[in-house]
């Protein structure tokens, strides 16, 4: 039962709601015989395939949404930093060149601001029209995911990966950028998620 719910939630981000429902049912049905590993791999595969199909058929609109998302995200982040400075929480300019020198409080503060900026971006983008059934937050979410993978690979290739950077790519980008963005996008478009609290 929960496999269908997970699959439905994930696939609703990349496919029209009725398609997401039937594909989620298929994956849940087959997962009973094939197990969890197959289910996770199949879910990832179907999500990527549906994303690239939607992206390929409306490349211009998807890229516009990505550009808009980056502008909105940057605006939200600067606004949150300015609000924090006005409230006297932290100075507006924080030297982040050496992450190891920052205090835990400053790191926590920056992390919360990144989450707020990403969530707000999800709320703004989520109200835009879907791209062939794909959630309008997906181009930016995939951009962040690609950045994480590329950053990690570049670090490893350079041969000098620091634990702070590795932590940022492996946990930071998914937790601080992608998850709040998707949550904001889902909240802004409840009608896209039938069976997940939306009217269907």
């Amino acid at each position: 039962m929960h496999k269908a719910l997970i699959a439905h939630g994930v696939l609703a981000l990349t496919s029209p709601p009725d398609r997401a429902e039937t594909m989620a049912g298929d994956l849940a049905e087959e997962a009973e015989a094939r197990g969890r590993v197959w289910f996770a791999a199949a879910l990832a595969g179907v999500s990527f395939a549906m994303f690239f199909q939607a992206f390929g058929s409306a490349r211009g609109r998807a890229l516009k949404l990505l550009g808009l998302g980056l502008v909105v995200w940057f605006g939200c982040y600067v606004a949150a930093r300015a609000a924090g400075a006005l409230l006297g929480l932290q100075p507006f300019v924080i030297d982040t060149r050496n992450v190891a020198d920052l205090s835990f409080g400053t790191l926590l503060y920056l992390g919360v601001l990144l989450m707020i900026a990403s969530f707000a971006t999800g709320l703004v983008l989520g109200r835009r029209e879907a791209v062939r059934g794909m959630s309008p937050v997906m181009p930016l979410a995939v951009f962040w995911a690609t950045t994480a993978v590329a950053g990690l690979c570049a670090d490893l290739a350079a041969g000098t990966p620091t634990w702070q950077c590795t932590l940022l790519y492996v946990c930071g980008l998914p937790l601080l950028y992608i998850a709040p963005l998707l949550a904001g996008g889902m909240l802004a478009r409840p009608a896209l998620s039938p069976g997940l609290g939306g009217p269907g």
Partner: protein, 111 residues
């Protein structure tokens, strides 16, 4: 658009599997049918994007079934090949036959 649609190999396989399954053609059954008949283990993502494309070309139609408990309350989507789809498969097969005519490869292999 569907009248002269050219079909790729996998599109033909999917259309033929749907035809074989009749009114029981939904995602899992189509994958099983392809596996049994061709030995190919089709990725679910490849199947769904192909079905989507065939539907857009007007070569298949789909309808929703009833939700079932073993699928977490999710409905099945049943597919059927349209007249244009059947015609496209037939045309593609005729092309293969014409290309094979006079070639010795099959005779040698089975000799």
């Amino acid at each position: 658009m569907s009248r002269n649609a050219n079909l790729g190999e996998f599109e033909q396989i999917v259309l033929l599997a749907i035809m074989r399954l009749g009114d029981q053609a939904y995602g899992v059954a189509i994958r099983d049918e392809i596996r049994q008949r061709t030995g190919r283990n089709t990725a679910p993502g490849a199947l769904y994007t192909t079905l989507d494309r065939l539907e857009q070309k007007g070569l298949v139609t789909s309808r929703l079934g009833e939700p079932t408990p073993e699928r977490g309350g999710r409905a099945k989507r049943y597919y059927a090949v349209s007249a244009a789809g059947a015609e496209a498969v037939e045309r593609a097969q005729r092309c293969y036959q014409r290309l094979l005519e006079g070639l010795q490869i099959l005779r040698k292999k089975h000799a």
